[in-house]
């Protein structure tokens, strides 16, 4: 520990909060797509894409649908323009417990053929089993998880009242009104008739004729569904105040407590229009503070094409910072949260600005991939315009994913952590979670009309702690803050769903370097109710389950270690 303290002091001296907890770790990912049993090609129209409907691709979710203790995989699959109601269908893969999967879609009655876009996971009925909300081009779908009963997923869209018929993209569950059940926010994109697509003529990007949209097309407003209990929701968009001055082209949403007041706020990422931050005023009321807080646009007022949304404490001040992925010839953006009141674009400060200009970013994740005590960043990339080449648009159609390793106060691109970082894909959605229960974070990445890719984290093994939550009703998908104190360091994770159209594992992953098994740790959890709980224990390489209201946590060794 002396060495660690010396390192911590040195880091503090240079003004960095980041502390290397142990020996330098080596980032490493290995593609296991062909061996893990996920052999699936996504559908999103046809290539080359000719309409804006075809370019987003489908989302992905990692969640434990059968409560057997491992992460299963859901894929929201699209269709084609000639029949958007009858695609090849979304899929559900069950994890065998060792990171290998088998398709159980038919077995569990998953029969979603409609053009699916994204997915949200939440236990809307509080039975302890995670349900699926699938956003679509066409009416969205709520599937109740009845695995414990009939062994199937049951379509309850109509009775629940959540079948928004418009083109929806991302969605997120969260108890935004503090009544102990999860509400649902759905982002909608734009008005689009696949049978009468807008005229392409005159549409140019960097002098190249391209498909139409979103500019010139009519944006669609989002919707906030309030969970009334008993399996019913109501549209509370207007009554809650989640109504901006102008609707945006919604692509992403994250529900988290942005200002640390104990209430869940709603951040919405919009394409080419201002982002929204609906501040929770309590009692189910919200106010859009996007522009006032500084998160609506980048540092110079640019309204960006926000796709992916990532939450993390990049500057270590205890407040959630927001990283968003954007279009090519623009930069991704990191808004640092200044004590819950202001957001300041600090993309340059952390080394993430100009390096991203040739890339068009989608799904992303901020995780401690090398378990060294700070969070690294993964960004999936790929252009929407089939015409894109470096010559024509300064950006290729297929692009490499970006991995940024946190080193001190900056992020540094790491191109050698696996062959995928030198391979070009038409990547879209991502989901992050520990597929093989070894405590480090693996990656699932979809590609447009291409294979779903699975990357196993093979970084130098360091000690970890994995924290999962259960609310009072046993629900696992809990939008909450988990804070770990270990040694001299404090790390924070906001469990908030996922990035673009997707859902990450509902767990807080902490790397704790080379600590000893007897070192004590402390946990602080801020639940959606605003209540705070503190727990302590010893031992690393464990999965810790914290139940709301319980005095004792459950800690079990990671099976994959």
């Amino acid at each position: 520990m002396n060495r660690l303290r010396v390192l911590a002091a040195a880091a503090a001296l240079v003004g960095s909060w980041v502390v290397a907890l142990g020996e330098p770790a080596s980032l490493r990912f290995t593609e296991i797509t062909d061996s893990c049993g996920v052999d699936f090609t996504m559908t999103s129209g046809k290539l080359p894409s000719r309409q804006i409907l075809e370019v987003n691709g489908g989302g992905v979710a990692l969640f434990d649908f059968d409560r057997d203790g491992d992460l299963d995989l859901f894929l929201a699959n699209g269709a084609t323009a000639n029949d958007p109601e009858a695609g090849p269908g979304s899929r559900l893969y069950a994890n065998a417990g060792d990171g290998t999967f088998r398709d159980v879609s038919e077995k569990v009655g998953l029969n979603v053929k409609r053009w699916a876009m994204g997915v949200a996971v939440g236990d809307y009925d509080g039975d302890g089993y995670d349900d699926l909300y699938i956003t679509c081009y066409g009416p969205n779908i709520l599937l109740r998880n009845d695995i414990a009963g009939t062994g199937r997923f049951v379509d309850v869209t109509e009775s629940a009242g959540v079948g928004d018929p418009r083109w929806s993209t991302s969605a997120a569950f969260g108890d935004v009104d503090g009544d102990s059940d999860v509400d649902l926010y759905v982002t909608n994109y734009l008005d689009f008739d696949v049978k009468a697509p807008p005229d392409r003529s005159g549409r140019m990007f960097l002098g190249v004729p391209v498909m139409a949209g979103p500019a010139g097309l009519v944006p669609q407003s989002d919707v906030l569904y309030e969970n009334l209990g008993h399996g019913k929701f109501r549209d509370a968009t207007r009554s809650s105040g989640c109504v901006p001055d102008k609707p945006g082209y919604g692509l992403g949403v994250a529900i988290f407590d942005a200002n640390g007041d104990g209430r869940l706020d709603i951040f919405v990422g919009n394409d080419s229009t201002e982002n929204f931050l609906f501040q929770n005023l309590g009692q189910g009321k919200f106010k859009n503070v996007g522009a006032v807080s500084g998160i609506a646009a980048n540092y110079d007022g640019g309204q960006q094409a926000t796709m992916g949304i990532v939450i993390g404490d990049v500057d270590g001040n205890g407040f959630p910072d927001v990283f968003t992925t954007n279009f090519s010839s623009d930069t991704n953006t990191l808004h640092v949260n200044l004590a819950g009141k202001w957001f300041d674009d600090r993309t340059s400060q952390y080394g993430l600005a100009m390096i991203s200009r040739p890339f068009l970013g989608w799904g992303a994740g901020l995780y401690d991939f090398d378990s060294d005590g700070d969070e690294d960043l993964f960004v999936a990339n790929g252009h929407v315009y089939p015409e894109a080449t470096a010559q024509k648009m300064d950006s290729e159609y297929e692009q490499m994913p970006l991995l940024f390793e946190r080193r001190g106060a900056r992020y540094r691109r790491n191109s050698t952590a696996g062959s995928m970082f030198g391979t070009r894909y038409s990547a879209r959605a991502t989901a992050f979670g520990d597929l093989d229960d070894d405590g480090d974070v693996d990656v699932v990445m979809t590609t447009l009309n291409g294979k779903v890719r699975v990357f196993r984290n093979d970084a130098t093994r360091q000690n970890v702690l994995v924290v999962e939550l259960r609310d009072k009703r046993g629900s696992r998908q809990v939008a909450a803050l988990v804070e770990l104190t270990y040694g001299d360091t404090v790390q924070r994770r906001w469990i908030h769903g996922g990035s673009f159209q997707s859902v990450d594992a509902a767990a807080a992953y902490f790397g704790v370097g080379q600590g000893n098994d007897g070192d004590p740790w402390k946990l602080r959890v801020v639940w959606p109710s605003g209540e705070t709980a503190q727990h302590s224990g010893v031992g690393v390489n464990r999965k810790i389950t914290v139940t709301e209201g319980a005095a004792v946590v459950e800690a079990v060794p990671l099976r994959g270690r």
Binding site: P214, G301, W342, I355, D394
Partner: protein
């Protein structure tokens, strides 16, 4: 060799090219040509275009008729592969459209043909900057300043690169130097953008009132840069002046609408 400003979207446009013409910085092959150009043009594969050809092309660029300029320049470049200035102007047509990869190749070729031409080096440096190739961009601006140490736009550019490298002290010093040189040269546009960027540095260090002062001065110097109003609104908001912030935001929207009306997806403005 003369000083010219970089034609970046926020502060550039026809005025820059007009300035180039006025200064006689770049003319046709008869008016000014590097020695190797003369040599290579002595045995051209195609006949030389008429006198004033390049001035005509510049006029088209000034009018934002980039495609037309390209149609004139492309065959000339093909017929005269050693003509640096024609390559340079063809590169400019792409650069002005934010098509930097295509411009980069042409700037690179033009610079190989005429390594002494500072204006090529300046635009090439900016082009590399927009492509995110900051190390190469820095090298280009450094090489320019080695020959012309008091070139404000190159100093400003290096300040931006320092800012992206999180070297705040150096960025601040460069912006201040660019401001001083621009004032000396009565170059209000460069002074305005350097002040706006100095404000970014001051915001980073929490000196909000000083940042506000720089932004106000920047707007006085260049009221057409809508981004500065946005930055001012952010600073005023944080200083507790909500009314002022709202007014600055409205100014931003108004000027932005005028300068950059809504339309199909466009690449964002660059620094």
């Amino acid at each position: 060799m003369v000083w010219i400003r970089h034609a970046n979207p926020g502060f550039s446009g026809p005025a820059v090219l007009a300035l180039l013409l006025l200064l006689g910085a770049i003319g046709g092959p008869a008016s000014r040509a590097a020695p190797q150009e003369v040599e290579q043009q002595a045995t051209p594969a195609a006949p030389l275009p008429p006198p004033g050809f390049l001035k005509g092309c510049l006029a088209l660029i000034e009018q934002k008729r980039y495609e037309q300029a390209r149609q004139l320049l492309a065959p000339v470049v093909a017929g005269h592969p050693g003509w640096a200035r024609a390559h340079f102007y063809l590169a400019l047509t792409y650069h002005k459209e934010n098509r930097y990869e295509r411009a980069r190749e042409l700037f690179q070729h033009a610079l190989q043909l005429d390594p002494e031409e500072h204006s090529i080096r300046l635009f090439y440096g900016w082009c590399l900057y927009y492509l995110g190739q900051l190390a190469a961009s820095r090298e280009m601006f450094d090489s320019l300043l080695a020959a012309k140490p008091e070139y404000p736009d190159a100093i400003f550019a290096l300040g931006l690169i320092d800012f992206d490298d999180d070297d705040i002290d150096s960025a601040s010093g460069r912006f201040r130097k660019a401001i001083a040189l621009a004032r000396k040269g009565k170059d209000e546009a460069t002074e305005a953008k350097a002040r706006a960027r100095l404000a970014d540095v001051l915001v980073r260090s929490g000196e909000l009132q000083l940042a506000r002062d720089e932004l106000v001065r920047s707007i006085e110097l260049n009221p057409g840069n809508y981004e500065t109003y946005f930055k001012l609104s952010r600073v005023l908001q944080r200083l507790g002046d909500s009314k002022g912030a709202d007014a600055a935001r409205r100014d931003h929207d108004r000027v932005r609408q005028r300068v950059r009306p809504a339309g199909p997806r466009q690449p964002p403005e660059t620094p």
